[in-house]
Symmetry: C2
């Protein structure tokens, strides 16, 4: 994905009440959230963004100044502006989104939306997302595929107020990008429980497995850098294609999801 | 477990070719490996160990001096000598041995030895333990129980040269303590793969589950502080009683095994 094209695909909304520098900022945060740019690749130069979007230098400068001050990007003299390492979120690649992980294996990630609706937050979902009883939440069920082969089902719940403009079309790109574009929230922390289950009929059918086959289940809450929880997801991963790799030691631990 | 009693349960072997300070040192390392003493509890005073084992002050002093210089224990002025935090191994309690984890829940851990034999190292086991082809390895299969309820099966393989004097009796206490007592190796790092499986008939019977029930499998290599691999273990844990808790963030990750 070309970052310049992603940022400048559509003109900004001159009629919106949201200042142009702020609109641009949310687009860049969406790009960061999509994990389609790493910390070694410079963001497009400010001058190119000015040209493509027909913005003044001062608007683009204000946007980048904000991103620098918030610690989301860093300037390196003579090299350009880069996504801050910290903003790439959890060090572990469990955190890395499905697409980035599959692409790293040289495969093509796709996603099929199984259902997409609003539901009222109740019970543990409400508690985990710290919402008022009944506050509306997007509930998105997706099947994630690698080279067309089903790998995991994902049921994600996100408060509507963090992504009011979510659509099927935006979802088909990236949920995290949509959230970042709408509200500036980027994933930084995860709290996840992993256990082993056997697939019921519906899950087995979705994943192209037989009923009773083993699977790894992850129940995950995702937080931004200020520890605001903004997503609860249940992931069911085929056991024959996924394993966790833990490296533990006195200096710290790493956790990686590997496709076996 | 009273540390003084553990260390001084039996007299040292005066006739052995191993110096007394070295014998005492290995006993203390066995105590550390058993996880029965934490970093907040002082080791028994040198004077008490002298009395109990009938050793000279200089022998005990030499032992403690060595432990301090190797970074295994630290002296705190006016408070005593404590196990160095580093020596307690991986920060994660996946590393914590089964007994310590179960005791922390207020339950009584027990272990049943299912088999205990020597086998020649071959294939991936040989590679993981960096052994010569055919080098002898202890293969120990155990069932671990909490309050008498089967929780996991554990097949551990340890090079015989790291624990030449292993017996069923010593195994019934702690495998890691036996290794530390025989060769001074303490667990510091783990490299583990976790996946989901369904139990076959034999595993299901051992764990008191039905065949086809889900389980979490861990294949783990354990290293000492110098990255010498000294154990490869396969753990099969009942899914209904075990889950992993992952906390991931830009400052680092923690992994905890929780009994659910």
């Amino acid at each position: 994905m070309d970052p310049l094209r992603t940022i400048c695909a559509e003109p900004l909304d001159q009629a919106s009440g949201v200042p142009l520098y702020q609109q641009l900022k949310l687009r860049i945060m969406g790009l960061i959230a999509s994990h389609s740019i790493d910390e070694a690749t410079p963001l497009p130069p400010e001058s190119r963004i000015c040209e493509e979007l027909g913005l003044s230098r001062s608007t683009v400068r204000r946007c980048f100044q904000d991103l620098v001050e918030e610690g989301r990007v860093v300037r390196r003299r003579g090299k350009g502006t880069f996504v801050a390492r910290y903003q790439l979120g959890a060090t572990s690649d469990v955190a890395m989104n499905f697409s980035a992980r599959v692409e790293a294996l040289g495969k093509v990630p796709t996603s099929k939306i199984l259902s997409f609706r609003q539901v009222p937050a109740t019970g543990t979902l409400r508690e985990r997302l710290r919402l008022a009883e009944g506050e509306p939440v997007w509930e998105v069920r997706r099947l994630r595929l690698a080279d067309g082969v089903p790998m995991e089902t994902n049921k994600a719940c996100v408060p509507v107020r963090f992504c009011p403009g979510l659509t099927r079309e935006r979802l088909s790109r990236s949920l995290y990008s949509s959230i970042a574009e709408d509200s500036g929230l980027l994933p930084a922390y995860e709290d996840a429980y992993v256990d082993a289950i056997v697939l019921d009929s519906a899950e087995a059918k979705a994943l192209g497995q037989r009923r009773g086959a083993p699977a790894m289940r992850v129940v995950r809450t995702t937080f931004d850098a200020q520890m605001v929880p903004f997503e609860v997801a249940v992931l069911v991963r085929r056991a024959d294609a996924n394993r966790l790799h833990l490296r533990l030691g006195p200096e710290g631990s790493t956790v990686a999801l590997e496709n076996s």
